[in-house]
């Protein structure tokens, strides 16, 4: 038996001791390659360590609030929604959310269609609008199963879609990034745009959940 951590016999696995775990600085081949490449680029003066740090800091600072701002505007301004659906990058740029590297396509949930996003090949995700993807989004299980049995996967997320609603799975295999515009919850007619933004969660913009209902 090689896994010393699973001994004990009281029903759970200890991680405090035993062989190194993946997070314990055991780098994979590709992590080592990445580190070596970064060191070389810095050594040759092509980028500086501070520029690399700044880029990571900038990317990490992006939160789903950007996407929520776009969705709340689409809910309250029909003309904006039309422009966003026609040209995602132009719509995002109107709200100072530039899509730097990719093309944005917004897909709208309606009473007849529910959209959900995946990248079956890797982990393509609208990072400019939602930040870094959740770990489950990158998992092989989500990627393999949501294209094969989306209703069961959504149900595991607590989202039941009626049979009369078509499920549209979008597999982003190229340089197009998808953003779901969830349905505007009932009872939000009097709410301001900024109040509406709080109802728009990350998961609702991936399509594994609905937007929040006020007061819940």
């Amino acid at each position: 038996m090689t896994d010393a951590t699973s001994s004990g016999g009281h029903g759970h696995i200890h991680r405090e001791s035993g062989p190194p775990q993946p997070d314990d600085k055991v780098h994979s081949y590709y992590q080592i390659l990445g580190i070596a490449l970064q060191e070389l680029l810095i050594e040759k003066g092509i980028v500086s360590a501070d520029e690399v740090r700044q880029m990571i800091e900038r990317r990490d600072a992006i939160t789903p609030a950007r996407g929520a701002k776009i969705v709340a505007r689409a809910w309250t301004d029909g003309d904006f929604k039309a422009r966003l659906l026609a040209d995602g990058n132009a719509g995002a740029a109107e709200l100072d959310c530039p899509m730097t590297y990719t093309e944005l396509v917004a897909v709208e949930n309606t009473p007849k269609a529910h959209n959900v996003i995946v990248c079956t090949l890797c982990s393509c995700y609208p990072r400019e609008l939602l930040g870094l993807p959740p770990s489950w989004y990158k998992s092989r299980e989500y990627r393999a199963r949501v294209v094969r049995d989306p209703r069961a996967v959504l149900k595991e997320f607590g989202t039941e879609i009626g049979d009369h609603v078509e499920i549209r799975v979008h597999d982003s295999t190229a340089d197009i990034r998808y953003l779901v515009i969830p349905r505007r919850p009932a009872g939000t007619e009097g709410m301001t745009e900024s109040e509406l933004e709080d109802l728009v969660t990350r998961d609702s913009m991936i399509g594994v959940a609905e937007a929040k209902t006020p007061g819940k």
Partner: protein, 93 residues
């Protein structure tokens, strides 16, 4: 440049398995769908991944009915799967 396909046109994904960096998922090869959107010319990742130069290819969205992709699909008949696919992976169906 003239487009290979138009929105609404039925297409079949090539049932080929060449080596290299391919963005057409294996599970969709050989399946039949309909063009729904045209994104214009894009760099072909099969070439640019290797830092090589080559002609751009038109990128399409192809919509597949889930029951055409998975014969035992458990959801509703109207459920669909949209995939971004380059023109050279598509042929008229």
């Amino acid at each position: 440049m003239a487009r290979s396909f138009e929105a609404g046109q039925a297409v079949r994904v090539r049932d080929d398995y060449p080596p290299g960096h391919i963005r057409t998922p294996v599970f969709i090869r050989g399946k039949r769908g309909v063009i729904t959107r045209d994104f214009g010319e894009h760099d072909n990742p099969e070439i640019t991944t290797y830092e090589l130069e080559g002609p751009q290819k038109t990128l399409y969205v192809v919509r597949f009915r889930q029951i055409d992709v998975w014969p035992d699909y458990a959801g509703s008949k109207g459920d669909t799967l949209d995939i971004d696919i380059f023109e050279h992976w598509l042929e008229p169906a």
